[in-house]
Point group: C2
Chain length 715, copies 2
């Protein structure tokens, strides 16, 4: 029988590749569940004979279904439900047998889990347990991850509790299907056929998120249409919430602050107007009738043209608290974004959020969390951490990362963002009496806020591979894993992802992890070395545009950010300049005030320095920049070579697409390097260091390159 | 061994359903190739042991690959290439052995094929042959279709030659990915990653088209951007052409007539200006360098705001001929659309194309074909055939159908368009001394034009099921099959499609075919009974809007088309009205001039009649309209029931989506009926016939229904 089974697997695999129906198109993400090597599969067969469930709930059922699906794929044969001598047993601590085991369940909270081999009722059991069904679901995914990455059941002992409470995707999805800054096709939400049609893909989306611990999703763009709060769209959101609920995922909506005017026909959206507050209260009640576990609102107010409380001379706290009062009776929250900069404020854009929000510390209602981008400008390849972290100890702060690569080459450039996330999270703020990293503040800070959160601007669309490329999937994965545990580290996450995505073969996992780990730094090198920022082309932010100087508002122009002239380059944010450094804790501010004690990677972010200033390497700033550009280009060329070495080891479809994208990336890394150097030379009048290749074209040629119809850039 | 093989198939099928990787999401279209019933599979195994190829070419290779893929799927086991005692043999008539068989190959032309069991070199061979590789490709698909629909090899004898030369899809795809009138997601063409990345889906698109005989594709919207003719987009189009070439599919581009100004920086686009002609000549040369078999241009000129020769007081012929001269040296053609109506012309919109084009008969260059919509207005659920058919005997006319359902409920309403296509094609024009149907004119007419063609506005997008629903796939299929043979008939095509899409089980095929055959008439019934037209809501054309009367141009308003008043309803197109009937051949014009001899289905298209006028049924016009609305709603309710009866027989995923869509359709058919009746009653002051249900809401309620963010409606 065993022989027949294996023969059949071989036939099944052969058939699949013959008919093409099981093509590796990336749809399965890291939940790939392909047959393990024979020895591992045999061990798995021995240690797990069935999936057994204690109790009944939608969440337990999806956990059991996922295990059954995963084990069927990993072993190559169908998997039974029900009792057996060696089951995988799903049970909460409410189960009497589990309770008697005396496991350390107390500290698991609502979402933590324990997975352990135990002796139970005379059987050797792989127990997945937790205090809640959701915990069991997370434990089930942890067990699958353990097996997918090469772990065995006979010694399994996993336990984990999330360190951050709200782990939320922000979809910048417009109601017409366009995703702002989306590079993976249309919005996943087919609003037109909702609420009637629940695309099976919505379920797979929920599975993917639950598998990495994401427990919330904001369905619509922060640049919100009022329509998203209309009765018809509430019904659509409710249909999605119904799909997501068993997976522990709450739905949130971005709210347009002026909706009382547009939808409610009021004359004002003034947060202190009782009619406005009543409108939001009634609207919230309406939403909670349709979605009893609705998460709450995300608000972008008085930012880039969006309406907000400042239109009525009210503070952000007054605006947020009014909304918070509307959802509080239902247990809802408000995520209020701190990403603001005024049209008229002549001050350094990097300073404005701090200036506006810092005085509001302690003024927000208990169910408000202020959502702060990782850096003070806008999701650059590298930014120093946002000075608000550590500056608002009495206010819960939610860290916002951009998973989609608006400024990092869209979907076609390979840039693993784990190191970017880790860099921000690990940054020492020097705030308070006890030092704290950004991660510690996000986890609740010295005041141990109950409300903690991390938001990621999703890179997900309707493209078959969800994220526009296989490697972009890693950024979704890393966001989830690092929101669950901000200290986990970028490399272990990359390794996990690679093993789950390509199989646990070290001959693939090792080089893939290596490629990934340096890839974001390569983008920094070929786009924005030494602390440069926002030198991308206008609007779509694709390709170089350091020469752009003609846009209406000063802070829209790359020249505003790099301030290059004949003598030097960089934005002086010390006392002689904008003094943005003073927004950091004193110890850090002191270090950043001096180029000598500023990390070189942030030099031009904080300082305007001479082209000739010597760097630690002994090279001048100018020579170092050239060196960095070349290093970035070289890294991409090297990634191509390494990927070439995996030809035949990775399935053809994913291999080819990645190889093609790496080709685009190498060409465009050169474009970035050459265009940037051509421009810097036109400013500083210098020649290239010996050995550096001249740009392939002259500056005018680069200025004339204007990619048409760039995605993700509605109007 | 046989037992093990079958066991393995069972396991493979079980595995597939367990892992979900082979979910029936509709991606496979009618090329589904699922295992046949055991007896049929055994017979197939006996009669075909391998796929053997004589000669080498990219087209022969894709033909052989398709057979191998198809036979592997249909038999459930891998299929060998190469010689065997009973092969399927692919060979052109150039092969000596085949030549000696004396088959009737002469009349096959470049694309026809013969598939036949023959004795060849001592073997029983299933021969697929033709004069060209493309013919062999079409024969291979015909053989697969034969097997998929329940045919056996031992008596196979197929032969067919297309009756129309150009069988072309028109993609109204914008360069930003939005498909005008597209209801199946974004454009299939990912211009952003082209030409580097050739999505494997492009190949599947080519396979699908080749399988139904489509041999050309216009990549971009007829409302064309000049950019589509820029060097960068030519390279992208060339990459697609490279993918499509082995499948016998030529690429065409929609050309913006003013491109010489926008791209070429000329001061004019006057077709008689030598600089303009030279620009188009150079542009054509540039395109042909990249795409040596480029098909040519499709042009929408002086229509709905598009630029054209009339801007320079030149005729459409002068404009078309100038472009035709540019592509003629390369063997290219120009498809010039006759869909024109002026902003200022107060005449009946239905007359304007005829008025403008009829005088140009005989004035077009030999490589121009004039593309005429099936009706004189715009792709309504029903229109009488366009009066230009038969009126331009000296000009090749290409018939344009809309496969996408702009006016027939988008993707969610089930409406099989085969009967619509067949109705137009079978219409008797009474033109010339010999009577001719529209099909005969399309096939070349009395002058036996060498250039013949049929165009279909594609319903294809990036949605997983390509067309927005399973049943919409049937319209793509039917267009291809009926462009190949306009006389084939809607029902045989429906039956073929159903068998290929759901398997050849008569218990499924028969009810599915039945549902399909009446589905378009149901849409006519619940939207536009008795010859009504263009009563849809504004802009997106979704849902009822017969009351709309406030749009700028008269012919944009539904009231322009139905002209309902207290006394009667309908557009008088006789001598007492616009006299559009005079554009038809005299015999037909005579019949249409009199309501008594006008087909009742077209009554209100041609006549303004009293609400009380008796119909053949004995009912008044008003009662007949109510009856038709109810019949339409009833048909949809009945389709739901019939589909319910197929639960469990059709795979769950496609069954559920279809069932959900039928639910939407039934609700919306009622909406159409009730809203229309509420409006007509407000106009004619009548009550409903006895037994007819009152509308669920009052008229104001219906007027207030405005679907937001309807797809397919850019701007």
């Amino acid at each position: 029988m065993m022989r027949v089974r294996w023969l059949c697997v071989a036939v099944a695999v052969a058939m699949a590749s013959t008919t093409g129906a099981q093509a590796e198109d990336g749809y399965d993400l890291w939940m790939r569940y392909r047959p393990l090597a024979k020895e591992a599969a045999t061990a798995l067969d021995r240690d797990a004979e069935s999936v057994e469930m204690r109790g009944q709930s939608a969440t337990l059922r999806v956990a059991a279904d996922e295990l059954r699906r995963g084990l069927a794929g990993l072993t190559g044969h169908a998997f039974a439900m029900g009792p057996s001598p060696h089951p995988i047993l799903l049970a909460t601590s409410a189960d009497g047998d589990v309770g008697r085991l005396g496991l350390p369940l107390k500290d698991l909270g609502d979402e933590g889990y324990i997975v352990r081999q135990v002796r139970l009722g005379g059987r050797d059991v792989t127990l997945v347990t937790a205090r809640t069904d959701r915990g069991v679901l997370y434990g089930s995914f942890a067990l699958l991850r353990h097996i997918q990455t090469g772990g065995r059941l006979d010694r399994v002992a996993l336990a984990s509790t999330p360190r951050v409470k709200l782990r939320v995707l922000n979809h910048w999805d417009n109601l017409d299907g366009v995703v702002e800054r989306g590079y993976a096709g249309q919005s996943l939400w087919d609003w037109w056929t909702l609420p009637d049609f629940k695309d099976p893909r919505y379920t797979d989306y929920a599975r993917a998120n639950a598998s990495i611990g994401i427990n919330g999703t904001v369905l619509n763009n922060v640049n919100a249409k009022p329509d998203s709060l209309s009765a018809s769209y509430i019904a659509k959101a409710a249909a999605l919430a119904d799909v997501f609920r068993p997976y522990g995922i709450k739905v949130y909506l971005s709210a347009r602050f002026s909706a009382p005017i547009e939808l409610g026909k009021l004359k004002t959206a003034d947060p202190l107007d009782p009619q406005v507050a009543a409108w939001w209260k009634a609207k919230s009640d309406e939403i909670y009738r349709a979605i009893p576990d609705f998460g709450g609102f995300l608000v972008k107010a008085n930012s880039e043209g969006q309406p907000g409380p400042r239109d009525y001379h009210r503070s952000h706290a007054e605006g947020a608290n009014m909304l918070a009062a509307a959802v509080a009776p239902h247990g809802g929250i408000v995520m209020w974004r701190a990403f603001v900069y005024a049209d008229t404020d002549p001050d350094d854009r990097a300073k404005q959020a701090y200036t506006e929000f810092k005085p509001l510390d302690g003024k927000f209602a208990a169910n408000v969390i202020v959502q702060v981008k990782n850096g003070a400008i806008d999701f650059q390849p590298r930014e120093p951490f946002h000075p608000l972290f550590g500056a608002m100890p009495r206010t819960p702060l939610m860290l916002e990362f951009q998973i989609t690569k608006e400024y990092l080459g869209f979907a076609t450039h390979l840039a693993y963002l784990g190191p970017l996330f880790a860099e921000t999270l690990g940054s020492e703020t020097f705030a308070g009496s006890k030092r704290a990293t950004v991660a510690q503040i996000v986890e609740g800070g010295v005041n141990r806020h109950a409300l903690t959160g991390m938001a990621g601007v999703a890179n997900i669309g309707r493209d078959r591979d969800w994220a526009g490329s296989t490697f972009n999937q890693a950024n979704w994965f890393a966001f989830g894993r690092m929101a669950w545990d901000p200290t986990i580290g970028a490399q272990p996450v990359a390794r996990e992802w690679a093993a789950m995505t390509f199989g646990p073969n070290p001959a693939i996992v090792a080089p893939v992890t290596d490629m990934m780990m340096g890839s974001r730094e390569a983008v920094v090198d070929y786009m924005t070395p030494l602390g440069l920022a926002h030198v991308m082309a206008t609007g779509h932010h694709y390709g170089p545009g350091p020469w752009v100087a003609d846009l209406k508002r000063p802070e829209w122009n790359p020249v505003y950010y790099h301030r290059a002239d004949k003598a030097g380059i960089g934005f002086d944010r010390t006392r002689t300049g904008s003094n943005a450094v003073a927004q950091y804790a004193p110890e850090l501010a002191r270090r950043l005030a001096d180029p000598a004690t500023t990390p070189e990677r942030d030099l031009l972010w904080f300082h305007h320095v001479s082209w000739d200033r010597p760097m630690a390497s002994g090279r001048s700033v100018w020579a170092e920049m050239v060196h960095d550009y070349d290093r970035g280009v070289g890294y991409v060329a090297d990634m191509r070579q390494r990927w070439d070495g995996l030809r035949g080891q990775v399935d053809a479809e994913r291999w080819t697409k990645t190889a093609t994208y790496l080709g685009i990336q190498e060409r465009e890394a050169r474009w970035w390097r050459d265009a940037s150097l051509a421009y810097w030379m036109s400013v500083n009048g210098r020649s290239l260091p010996a050995g550096a290749a001249a740009p392939a074209h002259d500056l005018d040629w680069y200025k004339a390159q204007r990619p048409a119809f760039a995605p993700g850039n509605p109007q």
